[in-house]
């Protein structure tokens, strides 16, 4: 089932949670709604599920009007961040719930319910826990049961609200790979909400980046990461250094020394203030002066797992650089040392009219 969202708007008092959202989710796709907390992603998900009503706009399921359908008529499976399992029911009864509440003439016979529930429990690899109660399960197990429960009614759309948000890092990574595999097997249109960019980039077919009730960019994980449409997307997906920049024709210069910058995107003003974005791993450090390099001094060097993070000071600005371990060993950087840095890849945006949100390490 495809989902179309047409001009959805929602306010809570004076706060605009969603502002004229347009979004198409084709059948069988796994879409991530990604954004900082308060960006409206969960509200949008709840409107799709029918748990919240939109102030304006329409929701269409397979082209049919669904804006005013009740949650129970939408054939939507919903998975909550905090599982929302029924505490007084065994795992088996939790999964069977959706089948047992069906109207008498649609309800499958007891043997059929048993078979379907056990199949689902096998699918989530927890059939050995059928007689346990939710309080006896770990967080990861509970979330898999919640997923099995949602799938029991054979929904045409699966909606997941920060499904791995309450789990620890290792379980989270396991579960998201598992979700991806499950989706590939079942081909059910799925939308999940997350504030974790890594999760969105790893799992989703398409990522919808949201900020302040608006969609900033829609694209494949690769598109949104390597070709961010707005400064917000650039900052939200990974760390970034922001340089104040001036545009001169087709080139922008960054830094005080008028060092070499990057190509200016089309449609930007020919002259004026701009911002240049450089990822920490897109900067080279040299020990001797290089043409177009920015002179700076080493403030700190941290080895963090496979990468070495170097903090540099250029004038009053702090710049973060990530090097491989080999490169760091080669350079043998020490605190206070003078170095020259050269950005390999720069993205220039016209200076924003409003301040950027948190996320990334802007300077």
């Amino acid at each position: 089932m495809s989902i179309e969202i047409r001009g959805i708007g929602k306010r809570f008092g004076n706060f605009v949670a969603l502002d004229d959202i347009q979004l198409d989710i084709p059948t069988g796709e796994l879409v991530a709604l990604l954004g900082p907390s308060g960006c409206g992603k969960t509200t949008l998900l709840r409107i799709i599920a029918g748990m919240e009503t939109a102030d304006s706009g329409q929701v269409l399921f397979s082209g049919a009007e669904a804006t005013h359908l009740h949650a129970r008529e939408r054939k939507v499976g919903f998975v909550f961040q905090h599982y929302a399992l029924f505490r007084h029911m065994s795992v088996f009864e939790n999964v069977a719930f959706g089948l047992r509440v069906k109207p008498r003439k649609e309800r499958p016979p007891e043997a059929e319910i048993r078979r379907r529930v056990m199949d689902l429990l096998k699918l989530v690899q927890l059939d050995w826990l059928a007689e346990r109660y939710p309080s006896q399960l770990s967080g990861g197990q509970r979330q898999r049961i919640a997923l099995a429960r949602a799938l029991a009614v054979e929904p045409e759309v699966l909606l997941l609200d920060e499904p791995f948000g309450a789990l620890d890092t290792k379980v989270r990574k396991e579960l998201r790979r598992w979700l991806r595999r499950l989706h590939d097997e079942m081909h059910i249109s799925s939308v999940f909400v997350t504030h974790d960019q890594e999760e969105a980039l790893e799992v989703a077919d398409r990522v919808v980046v949201m900020n302040r009730g608006k969609i900033e960019q829609i694209g494949t994980p690769d598109e949104v990461y390597s070709n961010p449409a707005t400064p917000f997307v650039y900052q939200f997906l990974g760390n970034v250094n922001v340089f104040h920049s001036r545009v001169h024709g087709a080139w922008a210069e960054i830094g005080r020394a008028g060092a070499e910058g990057g190509a200016v995107p089309e449609g930007s003003p020919a002259h004026g203030d701009a911002m240049a974005f450089v990822r920490p791993h897109d900067i080279d450090i040299e020990r001797s002066p290089v043409a177009g390099g920015l002179e700076s001094s080493v403030q700190d060097v941290h080895a963090i797992g496979p990468v070495v993070r170097v903090e540099l000071a250029h004038g009053s600005e702090l710049i973060e650089v990530e090097l491989t371990r080999e490169r760091a060993t080669e350079l043998a950087l020490a605190k206070g040392q003078q170095v020259w840095l050269r950005p390999r890849q720069v993205k220039v945006f016209a200076a924003p009219t409003q301040p950027l949100e948190e996320g990334g390490s802007g300077i």
Partner: protein, 278 residues
């Protein structure tokens, strides 16, 4: 013996036992001691006298009815107070406690005035031929009044504990409102509901002040056991009064024990196979 993490086990156990003995066990054994001056036949005669039997029926019957009414409507009030914002919510919330604070005699007189044949409410009920004041119905009204806060106050924290997400989950799985209530919400609040109803019931069994003003106190019809005990005392029949008191004590204890067992079962049945979790 294993060392405990929490200190003071011995001290608090000793304190609890002494306190309960002084406050509950000692007076009750005094009662039993007093009654033991009767032979069993004498005791049985008093305990199963016609008036006594009728009064047990009225007392326990009306208390059960009142507790059941409170179970239903107290649940509605508690649900309302927790789940829905409405103007004057704090005021209504405070109102619930009023039966706790009001002297029971005041409550009895007020209710009797309202439900009497010429009272604001009684007038209209009597038009349908339904007499409330000075009948057993009046007793139920008074007992319902004093029992309400027990049910509401026991349920409120438990209802607050139920995440609204649980209801949303049930709805997204296709459950109707009724199915959600019966299959999801009621099992979650049932142990607390039972506690509240039990408290309201126990309170009602012992209630005296508010009942005597509205009951009419007709022997065999609307006379409650506590009143019978008082009237025996007024005739200096202390031993007879203690015999009735013992009967009430035993009946109440059996009922409470039964309800507590039921409640323990309801609260623990979904933790049955605990241990080696996760």
């Amino acid at each position: 013996m294993q060392r405990r993490v929490l200190p003071g086990f011995g001290l608090s156990l000793g304190y609890t036992l002494v306190y309960l003995s002084l406050l509950i066990l000692l007076p009750l054994s005094g009662l039993a001691f007093k009654a033991s001056s009767l032979s069993f036949d004498q005791f049985w005669d008093i305990a199963t006298g016609e008036r006594a039997l009728a009064s047990y029926r009225v007392t326990f019957g009306a208390s059960l009815a009142a507790a059941a009414i409170n179970g239903v409507f107290g649940l509605v009030v508690a649900w309302m107070l927790v789940r829905y914002p409405f103007p004057g919510k704090r005021f209504v919330d405070a109102l619930v406690d009023l039966p706790f604070a009001l002297p029971t005699a005041v409550a009895g007189i007020t209710l009797a005035t309202l439900y009497a044949g010429n009272g604001w409410i009684g007038r209209h009920l009597e038009a349908f031929g339904w007499k409330v004041a000075y009948t057993p119905y009046g007793i139920v009204v008074a007992l319902t009044f004093i029992g309400l806060p027990f049910v509401v106050r026991t349920l409120q924290p438990v209802i607050e504990d139920i995440e609204p997400e649980i209801e949303e989950a049930a709805a997204s799985l296709g459950a109707s409102r009724l199915q959600t209530f019966v299959r999801v919400l009621l099992p979650a609040i049932f142990p607390a509901l039972l506690t509240g109803v039990t408290l309201a019931f126990s309170r009602a069994v012992g209630e005296y002040g508010s009942v005597i003003f509205i009951a009419g106190n007709m022997p065999l019809i609307s006379e409650i056991t506590p009143l019978l005990i008082i009237s025996k005392l007024e005739q200096y029949d202390v031993v007879g009064a203690t015999a009735l008191a013992i009967v009430m004590l035993v009946l109440s204890f059996i009922l409470l024990l039964a309800v507590n067992t039921l409640q323990w079962w309801a609260a623990n049945r979904h933790k049955a196979t605990s241990g080696e979790a996760r």
